[in-house]
Structures are given as C-alpha cells and as structure tokens.
C-alpha cells in the first residue's frame, strides 16, 4: 500500500534551492554563474504603483486621436549634435559577444525603425552595427576592448560604463564558449578564454579624474555629441551627484533587476537596490544639484512594458533603458527547440543560460548553427512590434492622466499599493492620499 501523499516540509532556511546551491559549489569549487538577472520574487517593484487617471478633477485626452508627444532629446543646449529619440526608450548596451551578430542586427534594425538608439556594449563596435543602427551609443568601458578614436568619433552618444545593476562593483564576464575567433580578435584576447573585465577604469578613479576623462572624450568627439555615465543602482544619490558635478549630459543606471550576459549568481541576488527604490533617489539628487532639466536620467532594470516605463518617467526618469525585454521580443525564452533547453537542464521561461553560449534560440550564442535559428528580419519585426505596443501603452497612461506629453507624467499621477514603496518613492498610499483615515474621526 502506498503511503498517503503529504505536502513537503521544506525548511525555510535549508530550502531545496539553498541545498542545490551548496552542492553545486561543492562540485565546482567556485561560485555559480548565470545569465540574465536576479530570480528573487520578493523585491519591491514598479507593480506596487498604480496610475490614478483623470475623472472629474482632470480631463483625459482622447486615446486614439489627440497627440501625445514621446520625443526626448539628450544634450539639448549642451552639445552641437544632441541625441534625439522619437520615444523615451533606449536599447541597453549588450555586446557583440554576449549577443550573436543576428541579434545585434535585428535590434539595430528595429531601433532605427522606431527612431531610438542601440548601444555597442563591451567589446567594440561591430562594423555592421553602425551600418544598421541610425542612433548608436558607444560604450567606453574599463576593459577598453576594441576602443579606437575612430569608433568613438562615429558615436551618436558615448556612454562611460562605471557599473551595472546586475552586478554593481564588478566587471564583465564572458565565458570561453562565447569567445569565438571573431569576438576574441575584436577584444585582443585569446579565443576560448574566460574573460573577466576590470571593474575600474584603467586610468581614472574618482570624480575629479572623471572630469578630465570627460574632457578627453569631448576632444575626441569635438564636443559634438552627448556623453553619459552608467552606474549600477547602489549608492545612487551620491553617484548621481558626483556624475552631475563632472558635468555629464545624461546619467544612466539600472536597478538590481538589470540583466547581464553572465554574473556570479550571488551578486545578481544580493547586490544593488531595486529600480523602483532608486529612481526617486536619483531624481531628487538631480533636483538638489539644480540639474534635473539639464541632465537626462535614463533608467533601466526590469522594465517590461509601457506601464513600467510610464511609472519610471512619472518618478523622474526621462528615458527607459531596456535589454532583457527586447531580447524576449527577439525570441528569448520562447518554447521552441525544447530539446535544446532540456539539454541545458532547463526549460523556456526559467532558462537564463546566456552565460553558456548555448542559447537554443540563437540570441546569446556564437555557434553558427544556433545563430542561424534567429532570422534577422523576422526578429527585427517582432522587436519593432513590441516597441510600438509599448509606446502605445506609454501614451495610454499619459493621455488617461490628461497629459499631452509623456514627459509630463509626475508622481502625483500615481498611488502606491504598499507602504514600503510609498516610503521609498514619496508617492501617497492608495486610499489615504496623505490624510487621516475617515474612521479615525469617529
């Protein structure tokens, strides 16, 4: 006779995940490495905010008819060729190496059709990237892989990388299987090596050095294009103030939900602060410096849809920065080629095996047979469709709040569902609106 089924009595401390993790370390002798982003479920999130659209106290705009401006410009009044984005969205830095060339091509084509930018990521500018991307941000990173004055001069914006939300305080990682001959040649590294990039720039340390570095880069671009600096959201208020002091044109940060090609898992889950918590801190720091209008705030880290983007903008961001969502639009996590997910010991939706270089859908791989699975034109169309849908969602919230510009969204257009997020963001709790509850008067 079979024993009666009973629910498992897992320990909260020695949960199966913790046991698996310890036993994997016991086998490997090193920490776990994984791609994409944290898998934590308990982070405060933008979902803890809701919009409070127009009713009688404010008039909404017609959703499908009245104009709602989405354009945003970086460096206006500061540089000769400001970066004009038709929508407040940028494709985040993802390297050729981390991504396949087909993924880079598709993202560039889609971004160009939508009037927004892509970014080289680490590892240098692939010759095709400039060709396909009308607005290209060139990252200038501690590793300086592939950095040349000629490529910097081709940039529409230079982004100085000083950190990222997925793993603030550490450098890039690209494991050997993705270090193909072409990727290695662009980075001046031996093929097959496990690349571990520096976490600090080789030739500047503090913000006073950064000021000199900015001048050097402005000399390269003839003071024509904007320069931003990217950090991971951690000590965000201080970082924003220091970047503003160095006089950058834009500050980019991603919260701890930000993605990456490969990172120690423990770093993904235990470092940095969530996006929702960081935005208000960053915006407030810029207001304190008197530079909120002048310096654009670009926010990434777990942005999934137009609601997330609208909330970021309402909290003080000017632009949202997305990597993982466009990758998912490309086909990441798609339940096709299931046998290859199984071979990796995973399934679609939970995969996050970007670090292995064995991406079943041809996005985060350098193996020709896998890359061929990603049709560039079809993938570009999917990303364009996604970006169009997301832009409509953004406009939907702006119009419903009575705004004819997406950039006019502000914290008063929202309420917080939780006390924690209300405290973090300053957005009033739902049902209270800052007043004493009605029942307390009786």
């Amino acid at each position: 006779m079979k024993p009666p089924l009973r629910p498992p009595t897992y320990s909260g401390v020695w949960h199966p995940n913790a046991i698996d993790e310890i036993q994997e370390k016991a086998e490997l002798g090193r920490y776990q490495i994984r791609g994409q982003a944290t898998k934590r479920h308990d982070l405060p999130s933008l979902d803890d905010l809701v919009f409070t659209p127009a009713g009688l106290s404010r008039m909404a705009l017609e959703g499908y008819r009245e104009k709602c401006d989405t354009r945003v410009t970086i460096g206006e009044g500061r540089v000769k060729r400001p970066l004009v984005l038709e929508r407040p969205i940028m494709i985040a830095g993802m390297s050729f190496g981390a991504l396949s060339i087909n993924a880079k091509r598709a993202l560039a084509i889609a971004a160009t059709r939508c009037g927004i930018s892509t970014c080289t990521g680490e590892g240098g500018m692939h010759p095709e990237e400039r060709q396909y991307s009308d607005k290209l941000v060139v990252q200038y990173l501690p590793s300086r892989y592939g950095t040349t004055p000629y490529d910097l001069k081709k940039a529409d914006m230079i982004e100085i990388g000083a950190g990222q939300g997925a793993k603030p305080g550490t450098g890039g990682v690209l494991l050997g299987l993705k270090m193909s001959d072409e990727v290695a040649a662009m980075r001046d590294l031996p093929p097959g090596v496990d690349q571990r990039s520096g976490c600090r720039h080789p030739d500047w340390m503090g913000v006073d050095d950064l000021y000199m570095k900015l001048e050097e880069l402005r000399e390269v671009t003839n003071y024509e294009v904007p320069i931003s600096i990217k950090v991971g959201a951690a000590r965000i208020a201080n970082d924003v103030k220091l970047a503003a002091k160095a006089d950058v044109d834009a500050i980019v940060f991603d919260g701890m939900e930000g993605g990456t090609a490969a990172s120690p898992t423990i770093q993904l889950d235990h470092a940095g602060i969530p996006t929702v918590a960081a935005i208000a801190e960053a915006a407030e720091a810029l207001y304190e410096m008197g530079k909120k209008e002048e310096i654009k705030l670009i926010v990434g880290g777990g942005i999934k849809n137009g609601a997330d983007a609208a909330k970021c903008i309402a909290l003080g961001a000017d632009i949202v920065y997305m990597g993982t969502a466009p990758m998912i639009a490309l086909n990441c996590h798609k339940p096709i080629y299931q046998e290859d997910y199984e071979r990796l010991g995973t399934t679609p939706y939970e995969c996050q095996h970007c670090h292995t270089g064995l991406c079943p859908v041809g996005i985060t791989t350098q193996l020709p047979k896998l890359i061929a699975r990603l049709d560039v034109e079809e993938a570009a169309q999917r990303v364009e469709n996604f970006l169009n849908a997301m832009t409509m969602e953004l406009q939907l919230f702006a119009r419903s709040c009575g705004k004819n510009k997406v950039s006019d969204l502000d914290p008063n257009d929202m309420r917080a569902l939780t006390r924690d997020v209300s405290l973090m963001t300053g957005v009033p709790m739902v049902g209270l609106n800052g007043r004493t509850p009605m029942w307390a008067k009786y």
């Binding site: 002798g29 001046d188 571990r196 000199m212």
Partner: protein, 235 residues
C-alpha cells in the same frame, strides 16, 4: 602652392585646451611637420585625438591623458606627465623625458610609449599591443590585465607585477617586489634581448645588466576548481 612652415609654435598660456588641440590638428591637416607647445603648465588633455602624422614637442610638464586617443603622431614631452600618458595610442611614439604618473600607456593598441624616468602604478595596464619602455622604476600592478604587446622596465618594480596578464611579455632589469597572480618568470630569448637593447640604445636609455621575462602562465585563462589558490585573489 604656399610653402609649409617646418615648425609652428603655440604658447599655451591663456588658451583653452580645445583651442590648442584644434591648432595641432589643423597643423597636421596642413602638413606642418612639427608643432611646439610652450608653457603647457601641466595642462590636461594636450595633443588628444590627433589622427594625422605630426611631431609635437611639448616644452614642460603635462597633466592627464597627454597624446591620448591619437594615431600616427610622435610626441616629445620635455618634462613629466600626469596620469594616462599616451592613453589608447594607436600608432606612433610618445617620449616622456621626465617621470610619468599612474597608468602610463593605458590600453595602448600600438606604437611606443617611452618614460625615461620612473613610472607610477599600473603602468601598461590593459596593454593591447605596442611597447612601453620605462627607463627607471615602475609602480605596483605594472602590466595589470595586459593583453598583448611588450613592457620593458629597466629598474625595479613594485608588487603585483603582471597580475592577471592574458598575453604579451614584460621584461624587468631590476628587482621584482612581488609577482602578480597568473604569471611566471622565464628566461628571455636571445632575439628578444637583442631587440630590447637596440630599442634602449635608440632612446639613449642605459641598459641594465640583465633582464627577466614575465609572461602569463595561463592559469587564469579559464575557471578551474583546482586552482583556488590562484583564483582567490582575483575572482
């Protein structure tokens, strides 16, 4: 066609750096062979992003990133240099007659940077090609994360020499306070020594009696559970 002046001079006093660099680039465009900078007063970013051949003579000390992100230029600095001299040089030559501060020749992709005096910490950091020659001593983490190319230090080096270097070679004439992770000392080849001695002779730097060669032992190229002793400092 008007004759091209052999040497143009510019006094840096009172002039913005942007104007000085524009003057150098214009001179290079016009085919002027030599530009002389007077009174640099340790100014930062002099000679940045000059991409056409020209010889630049700087009469005094320079600040950060002198001759940075440039190509095909030759530069004489008759003084000392601040951080990052010759930053990301593509081709050409930068000679510092004095000392150089932190991160001399960072991430150069070609050409030669010569420091006749001493160089600070992290000299030749992330070197991607080319040659760095230090006539005197060099600070800690010389050649840190070096990828390719060659570093020659005639004097002594401080701690963490060659730490985490991927490829390339470092030649040390003096003492080594401490070798960094993932590298080893080997005996130089005769043709390498011959080449180095010719280079030192060319730059009128006194050669030490002997050189030791440092190269990557490849132990850090790939994650390996058996190498924790090496990895613990660098992971």
């Amino acid at each position: 066609m008007a004759a091209v002046k052999k040497t143009l001079s510019i006094d840096c006093v009172g002039k913005p750096t942007r104007e000085i660099n524009a003057f150098i680039r214009q001179a290079a465009d016009d085919g002027v062979p030599v530009v002389e900078l007077l009174n640099p007063q340790a100014r930062h970013n002099l000679g940045v992003c000059v991409l056409k051949p020209i010889h630049i003579v700087i009469r005094g000390h320079v600040g950060y990133y002198a001759a940075g992100l440039s190509d095909h230029i030759t530069v004489e600095i008759h003084g000392s240099a601040g951080w990052g001299v010759g930053d990301n040089l593509m081709h050409g030559e930068v000679v510092v007659h004095g000392n150089a501060a932190t991160s001399a020749a960072p991430s150069i992709r070609g050409g030669t940077v010569v420091v006749k005096g001493d160089a600070g910490p992290r000299s030749g950091i992330s070197l991607k090609s080319g040659l760095l020659v230090v006539g005197g001593n060099s600070g800690y983490m010389t050649g840190f994360m070096m990828q390719k190319g060659r570093i020659v230090v005639c004097g002594n080096t401080a701690k963490a020499l060659g730490d985490s270097m991927y490829q390339g070679s470092i030649f040390i004439g003096g003492s080594i306070e401490e070798l960094g992770s993932g590298c080893e000392i080997v005996v130089p080849e005769a043709d390498e020594l011959d080449d180095i001695l010719k280079t030192l002779d060319h730059y009128q730097i006194k050669a030490p009696k002997a050189f030791r060669k440092i190269r990557s032992d490849k132990s850090l190229w790939n994650f390996n559970k058996h190498d924790f002793a090496a990895w613990k400092d660098v992971l």
